[in-house]
Amino acid sequence: MDRGRLALGLVALAAALALPYVAGPFWTGLATQMLIFGLLALSVDLLLGHAGLFSLTHASFFAVSAYTVAILQVRYAVPTALAAPAGILAGTLLAAVFGISVRTRGVYFILITIALGYVVWGVAHRWSSFTGGDNGVTNVPFPAIGSVGVASHTQYYYLVLAVVILCALGYRVLIRSPFGLGLRGIKASETRMQSLGYRTSAHLYAAFVLSGALASLAGVLYVYYNRFVNPVASSFPISVEAALMAIVGGSGTIIGPFLGAGVVLGLRNWVSSFFEMHHAIMGAVFIATVLWAPDGLVGVAGRLRARFSQPKEPGP
């Protein structure tokens, strides 16, 4: 990593650490959401930005994990130390089942993941005796391990920040590994990868399950922040938004999905305060991104940097 990026990273870290003291609870809450949904978007982007698979079912893993934690904690008083891993395990197991969708490609993959997502939403919505129906599961406590527990939203923000940083570092290793390079190879030419000896479906399946595990972790962070979960968490719009956050921020990068989450959540908060049809504004943002900035904010930043740092070409 070059010095400029390291310096930028340290400044961002300092800003993130200072945020609750400088900006107050509203912004801290928004930043917590941005980190959680950024993590969900990052999980979607492992498939989208690296392997070239557009999944629209990641809300399923997110929600199943959140419901598992909520039900265990609220109804069975299971402690966080067991409930949180159980949530991740449940979401990951679901991803291991839904992973069969990697047998398809392109538009068929998109369609099958949409259908799978609706199955989970339907269960969350209709199996009221277990999921609480539309009301969901409420009164989820803050996480606590033994006598050490989170006592405020500010403390929870720091916990989320730490988890997200660890995930981002692990993700960085993963995408730079031979396995991660293999995913990019599959995205570029699956036929060539097969002729080079790769069982590409197995690679994609592994990526799908890993991605599901990361989405499940985001679900755990979400339910302890939100303190309740209802079928909205499993709904199609969440899956779509996660993918769009990655695209708006910069697909194929690590920081991009978090920036995208910031833009989407920030705009929604701001626009919805004075305009009822804020969804229409979000739609316009996405269309503009796809048309004029297909590489997202990270791509725009790269282009600007290239324009300003390029030495003037000698005249003829």
Partner: protein, 248 residues
């Protein structure tokens, strides 16, 4: 006796009503250099796809050193020692040449599954990748993305990728397609210099290149083998002159 490197038995591939390959049988001895020739649409590339597992044949069988691989997926055949290049350059444009080579090198072993170490930590792979690029004259291009190098260099990379899967039998589908005469000469020299323990099966349109490299030549026409023999025999054959050159 030692088994043939490649044995194809009565292989056919039918698309809709059209038999692109129509009952081809051929045997290639270990270490042999076989060239397939034939006019456009003779079924050469389709035959290649069926042998290497890119396509499933409608009928017939394929074996590699006596082992029936007809039902094996392409990646399995690669692991067992088949390597191939594509007629239409099939490399990874967004990745650097070094990354392209890395994919080829780790593709046939377990290192392709490593998730917890960066590619850069595999010094051995890097060394091998640079050697592989050096062998086709691309060492100076290692750090460039493929989309920035010339067509001729991509063809060289195409060959280097196939060589670095450690093939026992190498299938080359018109390796010189679309190249200038000087590039053509360079690639055919490279192919000629390959170690003799690699069995070579090659599709080639250029008769001079084909006949200079080949131990034996198989002539395909309308999905069928119409002749097999030494380059001299093929050159002398009237039927070949008829279908291939279009004159007597």
């Amino acid at each position: 006796m030692t088994p043939f490197a490649i044995e194809v038995g009565a292989l056919a591939k039918v698309f809709g009503g059209l038999a692109a390959v129509d009952g081809v049988s051929l045997s290639v001895a270990a270490g042999e250099r076989r060239v397939l020739i034939g006019p456009n649409g003779a079924g050469k590339t389709t035959l290649f796809h069926c042998i290497t597992g890119t396509l499933k044949p409608t009928r017939g069988s394929v074996s590699l050193f006596g082992r029936d691989v007809t039902r094996d997926a392409e990646y399995r055949r690669t692991a067992l020692g088949m390597g191939r290049t594509f007629q239409i350059t099939n490399v990874f444009p967004e990745l650097t040449l070094l990354e392209n080579m890395t994919l080829a090198i780790v593709g046939t072993d377990r290192r392709k599954w490593v998730m917890h170490r960066s590619v850069g930590a595999f010094a051995e792979v890097r060394r091998q990748a640079l050697e592989g690029l050096e062998a086709v004259g691309l060492a100076g291009r290692a750090a460039q993305p493929v989309k920035l190098v010339s067509y001729g260099e991509r063809r060289q990379l195409e060959l280097a990728l196939a060589l670095n899967t450690r093939p026992k039998v190498l299938f080359l589908d018109e390796p010189c397609a679309g190249l200038s005469p000087s590039e053509r000469q360079r690639i055919s020299k490279m192919i000629g210099a390959l170690p003799r323990d690699i069995t070579l099966v090659m599709i080639e349109h250029d008769m001079d290149v084909a006949l200079a490299l080949a131990d034996r030549v198989t002539v395909l026409h309308q999905g069928k083998v119409i002749l097999e023999g030494t380059p001299e025999e093929v050159r002398a054959n009237a039927e070949v002159r008829e279908v291939y050159f279009g004159h007597g």
